[in-house]
Amino acid sequence: MSSHYEAPIREPLVLGEKSYHDITMDIVKPIEGKANKNWYIAFGIALVAFLWGVGCILYTIGTGIGVWGLNKNIGWAWDITNFVWWVGIGHAGTLISAVLLLFRQKWRMAINRSAEAMTIFAVFQAGLFPLIHMGRPWNGYWVLPIPNQFGSLWVNFNSPLLWDVFAISTYLSVSLVFWWTGLLPDFAMIRDRAVKPFQKKIYALLSFGWSGRAKDWQRFEEVSLVLAGLATPLVLSVHTIVSMDFATSINPGWHSTIFPPYFVAGAIFSGFAMVQTLLGIMRKVSNLENYITRLHVEYMNIVIIVTGGIVAVAYASEFFIAWYTGSPYENYTYMSVGAATGPYGWAFWSLILFNIAIPQLLWITKVRRSFIWSFIISIAINIGMWFERFDIIAIVLSKGHLPSTWTRFEPTFVDVGVFVGTIGFFFVLFLLYARTFPVIAQAEVKTIMKSSGEHYKQLRDGKNEH
């Protein structure tokens, strides 16, 4: 790839006097060590939330969708809001591993593994909602075009909800393969270090007999590049298809051509915010401060502010065009004066506050480079992006074409419980991941240590002075 020379003005990506061995040791420590009390507390909370969610899901399926707060005019609310929110979060993982790979961003190497894990766990959560929001989830397999005994009754390929099935399942499969390919050298490393036979066996299975020969590495790089090239259009198309659930309709506020790229930008925005939140904690609890540095945080914040800017332009476009259409129906869309002053005004203004106003703080260098501020702002964005999806769905549906259909949506405890459950499930998976998987791609970080490591940079600068 690029040469070994690196401009002195670039800041180091690996801090401290690290050797290759140090990197290995830092990364395997959480895997080879024992979990502490805090981990068990966090895991316990997540597990309880998860089980509560399972209870709510079983209750919904057993009793009927009527236990949710939906009504005959607002047929989608928390279910699809959470679905889109989770899919959106999942996108940053692919962005970081694929798009940043295509753009040769070395700083991605410290965060890609966790971002991809986040993608996969978030897509799991997202994938629940299309199933459980069905009235008859046991017939869910009818969405698949399988030859059958109903005279080969097939699906209609015209529905974006069907495209969703293909998009999400392809996305999950490709992300999994991409993630796992990258994990092979790292699993092999743990396998080679393992002393307990059981552990050795497990990691030997997981690493698929990776032996790290030159030919393997060459093909590994090529596969990564091809997968990155495929995952990039995939990530764009997946959220595009999710956006088309709304944009292909004729509801004012949903039918908008900007939705495909705007949803994608929002997905990157919210996904990076979630990565920021998770890594903000992880760098501390897993002692990875030398790898996930202030610079990484700053770069992520820059991506957040860029995509936040794109989202802001999209809001402005939506607001402007809603007026420009001259259609009175566009007065109540989620980006309109009607929304700002109507019964969902609080949701509208929450969106503006959390998504537009608060992220602007990131323009200030001090804030952008501060761990605690980044953490707070990233949580604000996660909230804001949830409101974006809620606003798009619920506000638009609450005031449709006919005034006699105007209504409100009130979530029930089951709506909330299912959402809380997915958050719990997500953290159950993520916490397990953090203790069993190499959370940083050591093979990749080792490739940049000599060009971007602090120690080597100092050596180089010293040499230049003489």
Binding site: S2, Y5, I258, I321, Y324
Partner: protein
């Protein structure tokens, strides 16, 4: 230092002169009365009768159908250009039709000029945006191309002056390109009254339109000037002060541009069809411009390198540019399809008119864009080895530029000349004129500073760049 060769300079001037002659002929041959318009129409029918069976004949048929259905077809009732037809239909079908055709024929030289003007302006400003993206992203590969991009940005002041003149003439009713500017569209007592336009007059009014247009153009030019100034100053500076200034200007420009880009597209292109709207439109036009901008950068680079001026640029740099051309060709298609498909799918009358008209009257161009802008670039540039071959990049680049010129053509022409389009003196002349001016301005700018921005802290990375 680059020396602007006299041969190239003469070529540029010759292109400008030929282009200008073409433009003048197109204006001179536009009809000024309905009688003349009738003559042109009669002539067209004769000519087509003789040729028969070609694309023109199809055009004529669709034109006739369109004519018959003008006052019945619900689909068409909304288009501005039929608003004219409807209005005139009251006075008598033939007379109304003639007046309508007269307007279209009178618009043609203006629209032809405008297509080229807009295309060149937007491509240039997006080249500058790309330069700033590279700066702000602290790219390590593209520093050796900065002077090329700065050179191309040097075209912006030239084309902006013409653009400004054009806007002022338009605002003073020198042409009929923007229907909403016509007399009486917002006056309820006028026969020309259009309630939909009147509703939008808060945005569609000449003073606001002109002031905003001036803000976009002047704003962009100020940034081009500042960037160039500090870039040249940095060449011989001992510290990085100018570099950091340009970094900050880059951020400011991109923030300014992301808003003005959408707004200018609403003003300059979407406003041509004032009854139609699409939220994506601003970004879609950006996609067209960005592919073309990258292509132009690649082409100028290949030319300079072939003349031995950019020895430091290697085929890895070309490879990267070609990757961008490849990627953004797909991105353009993505946005084109997203906009088209969503409107086609929902099929709401006030939106579909836009595509119905384009599909009926511009079928060849409308569908021809897809192979030119998507299929061919993807097939040509998917291979890594191909991306390093200058001839392939040039060849594909030419296809891409033609395809995106057509894209702009299909944005502007249906709204202004309807089915009276063609490729004649005006269309070809305008492109040649701007091409000549482009070559002249760009290479003059390039010759004024060293070809390598040697003060840039990432230059060394860029020189050693291999992929």
């Amino acid at each position: 230092m680059y020396q602007f060769s006299s041969k190239l300079k003469i070529t540029a001037i010759a292109l400008m002169v030929i282009g200008l002659i073409g433009i003048i002929i197109s204006f001179a041959s536009a009809p000024s009365t309905e009688a003349e318009a009738a003559e042109i129409l009669a002539h067209q029918t004769d000519a087509h009768g003789a040729h028969g069976g070609d694309a023109h004949a199809t055009k004529e048929i669709s034109h006739d159908e369109h004519h018959e259905h003008a006052d019945k077809d619900a689909h068409h009732a909304d288009t501005t250009h039929d608003a004219h037809a409807d209005h005139h239909a009251e006075e008598g079908h033939d007379a109304g039709h003639l007046a309508h055709v007269l307007h279209q024929l009178q618009n043609r030289p203006w629209a032809a000029f405008y297509v080229a003007l807009f295309f060149f302006t937007f491509v240039t400003v997006v080249v500058f945006a790309f330069l700033n993206i590279q700066r702000v992203a602290q790219a390590g590969w593209s520093i050796v191309l900065f002077r090329v991009m700065e050179g191309i940005s040097g075209f912006l002041p030239y084309v902006s002056v013409i653009f400004l003149g054009f806007l002022i003439i338009t605002a003073l009713h020198g042409n009929h390109l923007f229907v909403w500017m016509a007399e009486g569209t917002v006056d309820p007592s006028s026969p020309n009254f259009d309630p939909i336009i009147a509703n939008k007059s808060g945005w569609l009014n000449v003073p606001r339109w002109l002031i905003c247009s001036i803000i976009y153009l002047v704003g962009w030019n100020v940034f081009v000037y500042l960037n160039r100034k500090h870039s040249v100053l940095q060449d011989n500076a001992s510290d990085l002060k100018n570099y950091y200034k340009n970094y900050k200007f880059g951020v400011a420009f991109l923030a300014f541009f992301i808003f003005t880009e959408s707004m200018s597209v609403w003003d300059w292109i979407m406003g041509l069809d004032p009854h139609w709207f699409s939220t994506l439109f601003g970004w879609y036009v950006f996609a067209t411009a960005v592919v073309s901008a990258l292509t132009v950068i690649a082409m100028v680079t290949v030319y300079l390198k072939s003349k031995g001026y950019l020895e430091i640029v290697n085929n890895s740099h070309l490879h990267d540019l070609a990757k961008f051309m490849f990627g953004f060709s797909i991105f353009w298609t993505y946005l084109w399809f997203a906009q088209f498909m969503l409107i086609w799918y929902a099929d709401m009358p006030e939106e579909t008119t836009y595509f119905v008209q384009r599909f009926d009257e511009y079928k060849l161009l409308f569908l021809g864009m897809i192979p030119l802008n998507f299929i061919l670039p993807v097939l040509m540039l998917v291979n890594s080895d191909f991306k390093r071959i200058p001839q392939i990049v040039l060849g594909t680049g030419t296809i891409i530029l033609i395809g995106h010129y057509i894209d702009v053509f299909v944005m502007i022409m249906p709204a202004t000349v309807g089915d009276q389009w063609g490729f004649g003196w005006g269309e070809v002349g305008s492109v040649l004129f701007f091409l000549g001016l482009f070559i002249y301005a760009v290479f003059t700018t390039i010759s004024k500073a060293p070809l390598i921005a040697k003060g840039n802290p990432f230059l060394h990375e860029s020189e050693h760049f291999h992929y």
